[in-house]
Symmetry: C2
Subunit: 315 residues, 2 copies
């Protein structure tokens, strides 16, 4: 009955559709930190942030004795997650399921209405072809495992009431499913972000974070060769990714000076050629400190969000 679809599409009218950004990555990879800066920058009145880790098929009690962890796609309503991503991408509201991470129970769903920009962060937003079809820009967070472990232990022991041993045990339990379902999303990202200490060591935590951004030619990036030309702590290199595919790699050294960072950030912003004032409040970390490599990463994502929004308005 194709007539019914036409009937329904006509009745629906043509709403304005949001720009969709995915931020995928394993637990404690830095998704929330990256997202928070973008929301603060564009404002909550223009941006909707959605975490897709609530589509659990089973609650915590029901999962006991099941042969997989909450990471496994079979443990989640992946088809409903895909459907909700499609609806958001078409500017439609959703009634999103809610998992209470405190009690481990599935509770009353919540209404989510997409604004101009929708950031979808979580463990599996790029898991399937259908889910990926919903995004304008896709990001995978890929910190070195030692770095991610340090972050996860720090967060889960201070904010979630676990001991370090419990966190490590849970990470071991999840490793097979991380390798099977989370990490393969990396190859579908337009931008792969690798935050880590300069030395590659997770300790000492005082060491400033560096960022390595793999920029795939699946979206149009600003011309960064010009931007980093002559800079001391930023480099752009053409290289082959681990799978042999060509990428541009932007390296931002953790020791970049405030002045140089400022010049580079403004240069990226100028390439947007928009009247929106340069966003100052970027790069804030979970502990309140600020990081120029994080700020530059967020600025590049803002560039893509605003550019996609502008293209949409013009079309």
């Amino acid at each position: 009955m194709p007539h019914r679809i036409v009937h329904m599409l006509r009745a629906r009218g043509t709403g304005r559709r949001p720009v969709m950004l995915a931020i995928a990555g394993d637990s404690a990879a830095g998704k929330t930190t990256l997202t928070r800066g973008l929301v603060e920058c564009l404002g909550e009145d223009r941006m909707t942030a959605v975490c897709v880790d609530d589509y659990h098929r089973f609650d915590r009690r029901e999962r006991q004795g099941k042969p997989f962890t909450a990471l496994h796609p079979d443990c989640n309503y992946i088809e409903i997650m895909e459907q909700h991503l499609q609806l958001l991408a078409m500017g439609e509201p959703i009634l999103k399921p809610v998992y209470d991470h405190g009690t481990g129970e599935l509770v009353r769903p919540e209404l989510i209405e997409p604004r101009d920009f929708v950031i979808v962060e979580g463990l599996l937003p790029l898991y399937s072809k259908m889910a990926r079809a919903c995004f304008d820009i896709t990001v995978y967070l890929d910190p070195p495992e030692a770095q991610r472990t340090a972050w996860k232990v720090s967060r889960d022991t201070t904010k979630r009431g676990y001991t370090a041993d419990q966190v490590m045990e849970e990470m071991r339990r999840r490793e097979i499913e991380s390798a099977a379902f989370i990490r393969p999303q990396r190859r579908h990202a337009d931008i792969v972000v690798r935050f880590g200490s300069v030395s590659g060591r997770a300790d000492p935590p005082q060491e400033p974070l560096s960022a390595e951004l793999l920029l795939r030619p699946t979206v149009d990036h600003p011309d960064l060769a010009e931007v980093v030309h002559g800079a001391d702590a930023l480099h752009l290199k053409l290289l082959r990714d681990t799978d042999g595919r060509p990428v541009d790699a932007l390296h931002v050294h953790g020791g970049v000076s405030g002045e140089e960072a400022e010049i580079v950030k403004k240069a990226i912003w100028e390439r947007l050629d928009v009247e929106t004032p340069f966003p100052a409040s970027l790069g804030t970390l979970a502990d309140g400190a600020t990081s120029d490599p994080v700020a530059i990463t967020q600025l590049l994502l803002l560039y893509h969000l605003i550019n996609a929004d502008r293209l949409r308005m013009a079309s």
Copy 2:
């Protein structure tokens, strides 16, 4: 970004789409009784029954002090109900909200997967143009108010723990919203069903139910003039509805003999010209008794369901 929609539709593929039947009507109008017979007849493996009275925006506690009852569209996520009806109509699953009528709380949603036939019953399934666009056949249950009151008092005092006074008070409280939002759905139904006692009195309950079916020319009904020709207790009359629009009215007298009912039911079934055997288990009421007028009504709905299914298979 129309390309994204095309991208998504292509990724979705072409699923088989169910036949959609709406049964709208006020509380205790007989929706569940009518639905139960259809589900039993077609089988749970082919039919999905959905009640759309769970899309409450507020739980019972939050509704206290609000200037409307749960009947009011503003008290419900009507937009989400419409969206879910569209998804079911396209053969897609939904994660349906669940309202616990015992505790008055909104709880964990449930996965609903549409089968060949989807029956959607409730207070407001025909409320909006968008919702109506999702159905192949639409029914409104319109018992005389005295009859509905008797049914509601009987059900709510025996099964839901209320006193008769409480039920009457609640009906009074809802009357304005019933008139404003429930009853206007009557005009959008292909079939208006009026079950009631022959005398029009709600008492004595022993009096057998009659049925008056208004058959609007919005769908193709079987040729009932032939079917009822010469029958004693069944009549087909051309008349004007209360709004002046022409309708066929099929009257099935509560005192119809078992033999005559059987002849009529078989005659309706033969007009379908299908190999499905004649359904015997129709017309069961809430108290376990059976009613030929109810059975004939269900048979007419089955006729439409199977006919729509056949047309869909052929297209």
